[in-house]
Symmetry: C2
Subunit: 365 residues, 2 copies
């Protein structure tokens, strides 16, 4: 008899909470056999659950969704660390504590990512040996996807931390995309060994040592990788500090959004184009789906002893549905064991370098 | 009687040299009244010049183009500093020396940007007070453009250098887009003052001091700006260290290229879409033009005492034409005076912080 996994959803997290979280949970009933626990204000959640259940004609399956009531919640503009520590009954914290206590579960929230990070470390604790957890974002390549880690959890990092991000990311990638190698590249301003910052050069050194010791699959470390190559498909896991990762991610988001706006402006000016776009809509939608975060689920928090996923703050119900599906798959996996192993095996090769870090050398967050 | 400016073109620079440089020069004859000097191997250049002149039916105007012969050139994989110093007769260096000696001129090359930077500092010298020159890249906003500086000249920087990049960029922007304020933003992972790295926070401090002293136009400093906002049009000059700038620029290039490939794959699968795209081609082309670097000329090297422009290595003849046009406009301008003034006026507010820098604190390139 196999255990049914549970996804604990912070129903009050995100810009469109609790509606999209409830909507996503109901939709997810068709995509996963998992139990879903919606944590938050039942006075808001229950009515929406009833309506969504009716709309989707899933009233009978609603018994797979429970509501865990709490009236407190963390706001997007709350100070992350303070809120995670002090708002003990906040939906985010309650969901995290429940997930931490349940070995066949995962946590999901579209809320304050800094608070999710802090709460994850507090309740799930770090995998032994991990210095700092990181957030891994999924981005498209021409025919597949790659992970960018750290996508923004740690503004300033040490080389030892970046090396761990790489290892955790590689394991997670191989778990998500079976049969792959989880090929690691260190994001740099050039391929040559001499390029990059002190931080990236040192990270490459550490990963080279680990590779030479035979601890990675053959060909699983490609060295430096440039910004323009990452979308080509030759690298599965792209490693950088959280500041760079955030800038890149937000920059890409911003460009995509601006190009859509520029396209709308141009198409409006042009009847021919408007006509033509009607026919092209199918293909355009497929392209959009390839690059749209909504299709690829939440971003995992790598390095905590449990499964925690962060959904985009502006997530739609569809995005939450995908995120729940991805979280449920992780919930019944052996991923934590694989993550623990790789960290344990590589410990002798990773020496925290207190002097060499991006920024002030103190590795402050 | 106004002086005719001259553009000195390193004809041997770039992936498609000398063909595209000659092609671009001939095409530029219609877009500028400037003299154009093509520096490089005359045995390669002259035949192409004859052919291009005939093709474009501009044989009579060819007297505005001269060829300065030299057989040596710098290769893309040459060590930038060594090549700039030692290959004294390389086309890049000859063109730079000629431009440095001619007050109504500009330099242009699609070659090795590290060598262009080194050569610029050697021959044009830095504007008095400038610590390090930077490269400014032009990127699109929804309705206009913004400058990203440093786009990659200086891997690791101090706050004093970033502040100068901002000031030089702002002057250059106002010169290029008349009537604007050259609004400055410091690229960061969040708008709040507490966000960012030590480097970005210190840069914001310096620029705040300069702003408070009334040395910038009203509203010309907006503080931190996030990656996703930069395309919205609220900021004219986005400041970052060269490593971050390079990653962002190459990342954006890479995504744009991958999206085009994904679109082609999807459209091929779909007859409807192929049909529809025929009609939409005009609008799509206009969008492409908005974001295509070929339309916006070369990237200026800001901080040297002269006009030096760097064209993309893969530039087409059309891109070189645009770059020559932009360079010619700068050549007859008073820009160096404005740049000198702002650096001079702000000197008291910018203190080199030897301890606080990205990377190792030594500010190494």
């Amino acid at each position: 008899m196999s255990i049914v996994p549970t996804v604990y959803v912070d129903a009050m997290g995100g810009d469109n909470a609790p509606e999209v979280n409830v909507e996503g949970a109901v939709a997810a009933l068709s995509e996963t056999a998992a139990r879903i626990v919606l944590v938050g204000d039942q006075d808001q959640i229950l009515p929406i659950l009833k309506i969504e259940g009716k709309k989707a004609k899933k009233e009978k399956e609603l018994d797979r969704i429970c509501v865990e009531h709490t009236s407190e919640y963390i706001r997007m503009d709350d100070h992350p660390l303070t809120a995670a520590r002090n708002k003990k009954q906040a939906s985010l914290n309650v969901a995290m504590k429940m997930a931490a206590a349940d070995p066949n579960s995962a946590f999901l929230s579209a809320g304050n990512s800094g608070a999710i990070l802090a709460s994850g470390v507090m309740h799930m604790k770090r995998i032994p040996g991990v210095e700092r957890p990181a957030i891994a974002a999924t981005l498209p390549t021409i025919r597949s996807f790659f992970l960018l880690v750290d996508a923004g959890a740690n503004t300033q990092c040490r080389a030892s931390q970046l090396a761990q991000f790489a290892l955790l990311g590689s394991q997670y990638y191989q778990f998500t995309y079976e049969g792959t190698k989880g090929k690691i590249g260190v994001l740099s301003n050039g391929e040559e060994d001499s390029k990059g910052t002190e931080l990236t050069r040192e990270t490459v050194e550490i990963l080279n040592r680990i590779n030479s010791a035979g601890l990675l699959k053959k060909g699983a470390f490609v060295g430096n990788v440039e910004g323009k190559e990452v979308f080509q498909g030759g690298v599965d896991v792209v490693v950088c500090d959280g500041f760079t990762g955030n800038i890149l991610l937000k920059g890409l988001e911003g460009l995509a959004s601006a190009v859509v706006d520029i396209m709308k402006l141009e198409i409006k000016k042009d009847l021919f184009a408007s006509f033509g776009m009607l026919f092209a809509m199918g293909a355009v939608k497929r392209v959009k789906d390839r690059v749209d975060y909504a299709e690829v689920g939440g971003a995992p928090l790598l390095g905590v002893n449990g499964h925690a996923f962060i959904a985009h703050g502006g997530s739609t119900g569809k995005a939450i549905k995908s995120a729940i599906r991805v979280a449920a798959k992780a919930a019944k996996s052996d991923l934590p064991k694989a993550l623990f192993s790789i960290i344990e095996e590589t410990k002798p090769y990773i020496t925290p370098q207190a002097n060499r870090a991006s920024g002030d050398g103190k590795g402050k967050q």
